[in-house]
Symmetry: C2
Subunit: 337 residues, 2 copies
């Protein structure tokens, strides 16, 4: 579990503003409040929001860069809403019935209304973004376009095995774009110079890549304690994440057939999952993923050096990297099997 103590103070203002933006007595706004985790299914106020990593990072960075508070909050909340709309639609597209351990929106209200609920969330997100100005909404829209293009590739790749390079290009869009945006927004609001703005975006992208590959590693080697998922959960879900595509490229023909069978059959038994994890370990995929993460971290640190923020703030962000280190999986099935 990531320790985000330094980001915790931003969660309450984000939650409060989410409640304002999503207020209304109609069923669709209720379900949006349920989805972001500020209301129970029965309509009672609740605190069940996720980490809210993106808006928290936006607000942390806004503080460091001296960006105007109210504007930054609008931008941060818009970003969180865009992330959340994508979850509503992705859950339909991926046939995922659970989101953060609770029924996904489409599982509660059906696919038609859930598509429409996502559309409303997009709209409310961008209406919130517009209050922070044209440049903010432009930045949000560009990130959203890249994210949706990334999702298109992800859906395309379901029916084929891609190279690790293609996979990385896909997650750079699907995950990297919103992280990039999280750091670009405070720069825009603070009126940062062009070079700083470029570094902010690049830093965010590297952090996003690191975050996604870590997520992929946890999906294979993570323990139940890590983010509440079971070891090998991505294998059960047939998610061809980074370790899988890297393994497929490195595998011999027999091993490739094993991977293809495991990701193609109707359900993976525990033995199937254990067998695939064993193969990934034999092929050295965990070390490969660690090396990838190391590279993204190094590049992020390089960008960080150039950002015009206090040394103490840089230390805090470096600490975030330590939290993101894959050490969490040391006791996972990867080492056991």
């Amino acid at each position: 579990m990531i320790n985000l103590a330094f980001l915790a103070k931003y969660q309450e203002p984000v939650r409060q503003r989410l409640a304002e933006v999503l207020q209304g007595g109609d069923p669709i706004r209720h379900i949006l409040r349920y989805h972001v985790g500020i209301e129970s299914r029965r309509g009672k106020p609740e605190v069940r929001t996720g980490k809210m990593l993106r808006p928290s990072l936006t607000l942390f960075m806004a503080e460091q860069l001296g960006a105007e508070d109210r504007c930054s909050l609008h931008a941060a909340v818009a970003l969180e809403l865009i992330h959340n709309f994508s979850l509503i639609h992705d859950d339909i597209e991926d046939n995922d019935k659970l989101r953060r351990g609770h029924p996904a929106v489409w599982d509660l209200i059906g696919v038609p209304k859930a598509i429409n609920a996502g559309d409303l969330m997009i709209t409310l997100a961008l209406l919130e973004g517009v209050t922070a100005g044209t440049e903010v909404v432009q930045c949000l829209l560009e990130a959203m376009r890249d994210m949706v293009d990334g999702q298109a590739l992800d859906l395309e790749y379901e029916s084929q095995w891609t190279s690790p390079e293609e996979y990385r290009a896909m997650i750079l869009l699907k995950t990297g774009a919103l992280f990039r945006c999280a750091f670009e927004l405070p720069g825009i609001i603070a009126g940062a110079d062009e070079e700083t703005e470029r570094r902010l975006g690049a830093f965010g992208e590297e952090l996003g890549m690191l975050f996604q590959i870590r997520d992929d590693v946890l999906g294979i080697w993570g323990t139940t304690a890590d983010l509440g998922r079971k070891p090998g959960s991505d294998l059960v879900k047939k998610k061809k994440s980074y370790p899988l595509v890297a393994a497929h490229q490195r595998a011999n023909e027999t091993e490739q057939r094993q991977l293809e069978r495991a990701m193609g059959t109707a359900t993976n038994t525990e033995t199937d999952v254990a067998g695939v994890v064993k193969l990934l370990n034999r092929l050295g995929i965990r070390a490969d993923a660690d090396a990838q993460m190391g590279e993204h971290r190094a590049r992020a640190e390089e960008h960080l050096r150039f950002l015009p923020i206090a040394a103490s703030a840089k230390d805090v962000l470096l600490e975030l990297f330590v939290q993101l280190e894959p050490s969490v999986a040391e006791n996972g099935p990867g080492t056991v099997l």
Copy 2:
């Protein structure tokens, strides 16, 4: 069929700009070009766009109000793209396999990719809108919010019988909002005063209502020549359109059961359809719908009087109302049965 000769000259610039906004070699942009009707399924350029009523009206009014050309084109194209995104998602939500006589997007590429394609179209629409300024994108987003709220009500009403008043409130959102926006946009770009802007929006809303009720009338009494649909097509699709909810309110208990059976059973035979049309005629629903249209037309004409545009332009818009008159259905099954 509506004769839109005076609007025809705007179609080519809109089509050209659509092609620019939707350019790209990826499968998702190809399918968006197919959907708006500028490309065949095999990827060949094609002219199969609909009437493009909304952007044409925006450009016509922009010309009358002296709004800047380029800005108006961006706003008009953004509006057309928002309308088109809603069609992609609505077709999934309503399980409609055909759109303008061709396979719906979801029928070609499946629901997951079609949801995502709609999301991309929203994003590209608003990126196009942003180039015309903050006020334009705000106006587009407010219309989109109302449209989506209207669609939420429409989906809600599938499982219940609403009053004609509730139905009208729903279509005011679902259809009225984009028509309102079509007329507000040129006002914003031309820098119209507050009163003119209010009149423009109100005129658009009345036109939208007129347009939707006319569409509902054609869905029951229209001949094949009208918009290419079969008589009673909305009954076959179980669409509880204005004539149906108006009839249900006016009907006695036995007649209500007949309507509920017809809109509830698995498939309506030709005899069922003929029976319902006969009932609607007996209840005087056609006259009721005509009266509704007359009221919206009168209010639209009242707003039109106050708009600061040439008398000749007003005549052209009045001519549009004549085109929208329900006389098209005079020879439909309504009078036959």
